[in-house]
Symmetry: C2
Subunit: 457 residues, 2 copies
C-alpha cells in the first residue's frame, strides 16, 4: 500500500493523492438510488493524459481496480468503486481547450461540466445540444454513459456529437481517435466504442465535440390531454408533422404535480383543466427567425388541438425556462417524494401505448406506485417506482425492464447499466452478445483493471 501510494504520488504529485481516512466519502458514490457507496482506498487527481497514463501503469502493476469519476451525478452506480479500489477523479482536468467557431467544434477536458460548456458555446452563437437535465454533469461522465436528454428527438445523443477522443488504455498507451470531422471510414470506430462504455474500456482525457448553431428563438407549448392514449397517439403525428420539435416530452399527472410543487411553479393551467388532465405533452420549437417561430407555434397549437389536447398554453422566456428546469428536476422531485427506484427504459415510439398499458399492471402486481415523465419523441420513459419493500421493488423493476425489452426496446436509454442494472442486463441480453462484449473488454483491458464489476458483474 505504501509502495502504491508512493508510485501514485510520483505520477500525479503528493498533494493529489488521497488515501485511507483522508478520502472524502463523496468519492465513493454517485446519485444512484440502488447502489450503496463504497469508499475507495485511494483517489488521484491527475492534471493531464500523461499523468493518467502513469496512474494506469501503477494500477496495472499492482492489480488495482480503477474507477473514473467526473461530477458523480450518474444514476446507475458506474462511478462507485470496488472496495480497495482507486478512483481517478477528473476534477482538475476541467478546461475548455478550444471553441472553434468556424469548425463548429469544441475541444474539452473531461472534467468540464455541461453548464460550463453551454455558457462558453452560447457566447459564440453555438450549442452543444446534449441536455440530460443535469448541468453539473461532466463531459467525461456524459461520454461514458452516452447521455441523451431532452433535445435528442431533434439532435440525437452524445455519440452523435463526439467527433474524437483522447483516451488512455489500461496499458498506459495514450490514443487519439477521430478528429474535427464527421466523415471517416478508416477502420473500426474506436470513438463510438468508447462512448457509452462506462469507464470499462479506457479513460477519456480529451473530447472533441461537434457543435451546432444555437437557435436564438424558442417557444414551448404545454398541452394537457385527457389521458395517456391520446398522448401516445399524438407522438408520431408530432415527430412526423414537419415542425421538427427540439423537445417532445410527456409528463403524467403524478409527475406534473410533483415537479411543479417541487419547483413552486404555477403554469397558469386552470384547476378544472388540471383536474380533467390525464397527461401532458410539452413541445418546444426553435427557429432562427422569431416570425417563423410564431407561425410554427400557431401550427403546433392547431396540431395539438386536432390531436385531442384539452387546451394549449404557449410558454416563452422565463416561464418556459422554469418549466424545463422543473422537468429536469424530476429525479430530485421523485427522490424528495421518496422514490425507491427509477427507470429510464426505451421502447420504440410506436410501442409507448403498450408500455404505458403494462406499467399499471406491474404496479398493481407488486403494490408499487409508479409514475413519471419522459422523452416521448424518443420513446424514453422515466418512471419513479415507490415500493419500500426490497423484494417487491426488485420484482417490479425486473418486470418493467423486461416489458421494455419485450416491446423491442432497451433497458436503459441514457443512465447506463452501471452496477445497478447488471442483473436485468445479463438476464435480458443475448448471451452471445454479452460474451462478445466480454471479449471486446479483454481486447482493451486484458487484466480487467478498468471499472471491474460494472456492466458484467
Amino acid at each position: 500500500m505504501a509502495d502504491v501510494r508512493t508510485a501514485l504520488a510520483e505520477a500525479v504529485g503528493e498533494e493529489h493523492v488521497l488515501s485511507g481516512d483522508a478520502v472524502p466519502p463523496e468519492y465513493g458514490r454517485d446519485e444512484s438510488l440502488g447502489v450503496a457507496g463504497v469508499r475507495p482506498d485511494l483517489v488521484v487527481r491527475p492534471a493531464d493524459a500523461g499523468q493518467v497514463a502513469a496512474v494506469l501503469k501503477v494500477a496495472g502493476e499492482h492489480g488495482l481496480p480503477v474507477t473514473a469519476r467526473g461530477s458523480g451525478t450518474g444514476l446507475s452506480g458506474a462511478a462507485v468503486p470496488r472496495p480497495g479500489g482507486l478512483v481517478v477523479s477528473f476534477e482538475r482536468m476541467n478546461r475548455i481547450l478550444e471553441i472553434d467557431a468556424d469548425g463548429q467544434v469544441a475541444v474539452v477536458q473531461p472534467g468540464v461540466t455541461l453548464a460550463e460548456l453551454d455558457e462558453a458555446t452560447a457566447a459564440q452563437g453555438l450549442v452543444y445540444p446534449i441536455f440530460p437535465g443535469e448541468g453539473s454533469a461532466s463531459i467525461g461522465g456524459t461520454v461514458a454513459t452516452n447521455a441523451g436528454g431532452m433535445h435528442a428527438v431533434k439532435e440525437g445523443v452524445t455519440r452523435h456529437h463526439v467527433l474524437g477522443l483522447e483516451a488512455v488504455l489500461a496499458t498506459g498507451e495514450v490514443i487519439r481517435t477521430g478528429g474535427r470531422y464527421v466523415k471517416t471510414s478508416t477502420g473500426y470506430d474506436l470513438t463510438q466504442l468508447i462512448v457509452g462504455s462506462e469507464g470499462t474500456l479506457a479513460l477519456v482525457t480529451e473530447v472533441t465535440l461537434r457543435l451546432r448553431p444555437r437557435l436564438p428563438h424558442t417557444a414551448g407549448v404545454l398541452a394537457p390531454f385527457p389521458g395517456t392514449e391520446p398522448v401516445t397517439a399524438a407522438i408520431p403525428r408530432l415527430t412526423g408533422g414537419g415542425l421538427d420539435p427540439l423537445v417532445l416530452e410527456y409528463v403524467d399527472v403524478l409527475a406534473m404535480s410533483a415537479i411543479t410543487q417541487n419547483a413552486g411553479l404555477d403554469l397558469g393551467v386552470p384547476q378544472e383543466i388540471r383536474d380533467a388532465a390525464g397527461a401532458y405533452l410539452l413541445v418546444v420549437l426553435g427557429n432562427r427567425s422569431a416570425e417563423r417561430l410564431d407561425e410554427d407555434v400557431q401550427t403546433l397549437g392547431e396540431q395539438l388541438a386536432g390531436l385531442g389536447a384539452a387546451d394549449v398554453y404557449v410558454l416563452q422566456g422565463e416561464p418556459l425556462r422554469k418549466l424545463i428546469t422543473a422537468r429536469e428536476g424530476a429525479f430530485w422531485a421523485a427522490r424528495a417524494a421518496g422514490a425507491n427506484a427509477i427507470v429510464d427504459a426505451v421502447v420504440p415510439r410506436t410501442a409507448l401505448a403498450r408500455f404505458f398499458a403494462a406499467v399499471p399492471e406491474i404496479a398493481g402486481r407488486h403494490g408499487a406506485l409508479i409514475g413519471g415523465c419522459g422523452h416521448a419523441g424518443d420513446g424514453n420513459v422515466h418512471l419513479s417506482v415507490f415500493q419500500p419493500d426490497d423484494e417487491a421493488l426488485a420484482e417490479a423493476m425486473d418486470e418493467l425492464l423486461a416489458a421494455a425489452a419485450e416491446l423491442g426496446g432497451t433497458i436503459s436509454g441514457e443512465h447506463g447499466i452501471g452496477r445497478e442494472k447488471i442483473r436485468q442486463f445479463l438476464a435480458l441480453e443475448d448471451p452471445a452478445k454479452v460474451a462478445l462484449m466480454r471479449r471486446i473488454k479483454t481486447s482493451f483491458d486484458p487484466d480487467g483493471i478498468l471499472n471491474p464489476g460494472v456492466l458484467f458483474g
Copy 2:
C-alpha cells in the same frame, strides 16, 4: 473442394452455389481503380440469416476466406475476395421488410439498393438521407463502408442512421443489435462497431434505419468564384450562417468541365464567367414550405455574393437534378477521362485552404494532374489523380493522404481502406490503435475468415 461445395449446397441450395469456371468474373471485383479483380473459387447466394450462418460454419470448418458482396460498387477493393476464397453475395436478400412511417424506421435486407429504398420512402413522405452518389449501391455495402455522401453536411453519415443490425458472427451465431430507437446505454455499441468494418467483423443480414421527413421543396444555388481561396473562406460562413444547407459542394474548374461534358449539361453560365471562374460552390437548401425556401434562397444568394461569388444561378427541379446527377457522376467522368487513382480524404473544414494549397505542390512534384470536387461542408475532398506511371502515382497518393492526416484529417471519408489504402493506413495510423483494432478483430473472428487482408493487409 467437393466436400465444401456439397456442404455449401446443403446450406443454400445447389442452384445458389457457383464454383470454378461457372463463377462470373464480376463476383471478383468492385469499382476500385487500384485493386485488380480476383475470381473467387466459390460464390453462394443465401436467402436468409440462417443460410448465412450455415455458410459461415462451413467456411470456418474449412478455413475458407469469406468476402461479403452487395452491388460491387465499392471504390476501395473491400469486395475483392482472396484467391481461393468464397464470396457471399446478398443479391437474393433484397427485400424492404418494412417502412414504419409512424416510427420513422425502415427495416431492410442488405441487398436492397439505395435507389429502391429512396423510392419506397418517398412514397411515405420520408427519406433515408444517405446519398453517396451511387443509387445502385446496396444498403449492406454502405453499412460496411459507413457511406457518407452529399447530404452529410446536414444529416450525418450512415452510422448516424443505422439504429440496429442483424448480423452473423464468424462462429455462425446470429445476433441482433440496437432496435427501433435512438437512445440506448446498455453496453458496447456493437451496431456502431460493425458499421464501417468492411466485412471484417460480421456479415450483416438485416438493417434497421432511421428515416427523416422528406423536405418537399429544394433549390440549389450554383456560385462561380474567382478561385479556391474565397471558396474555402466561404464554407464556414455558409455552415454557420443559419440556413443549414442540405448540400454544400465545391467543384473545381477541371471537374466542372469534366462532369458537365460527361453529362452533356449546359448550366447557362455565360462563357466569360466560366473563363474567369476558379472554382464553384453548389449549395442546396430544403424546406417544407415553398415560401420559406424562396426567402432562404434569396438570403443565400446575398450571402454568396457577399462572400465573393462572381454570380449566383438558382436551380430548381430538372436542372438541379441534372447538375446533382452530373456531380454524382464525377467518378465516372474521371474514369472516362483516364484517372489513375482517386482520393476521398477528409480534413477539418477550416483546413481545406491548406489542403488545397498542398495539392498542386504534390501534383507538381510527381508530374500528376490532380483536380476534383467534394463535400466541402464536411471537408471531404474527392480528387482524381492522373499519372499513368505506377511509382509516381503511388508517391503522389502517399503524399496526398499524408497531407490530409497531417492537417488533422483522415485518409478516407467514405470509401474505406479496403485493399487499396492499406499501405497508407498502416503507415499513418498510430500502431497502438492498429494493434487494438487487430485485437477487436480477433474478438469477433478468432480464425480470421472474414475478409482477411482487408484493412490490415
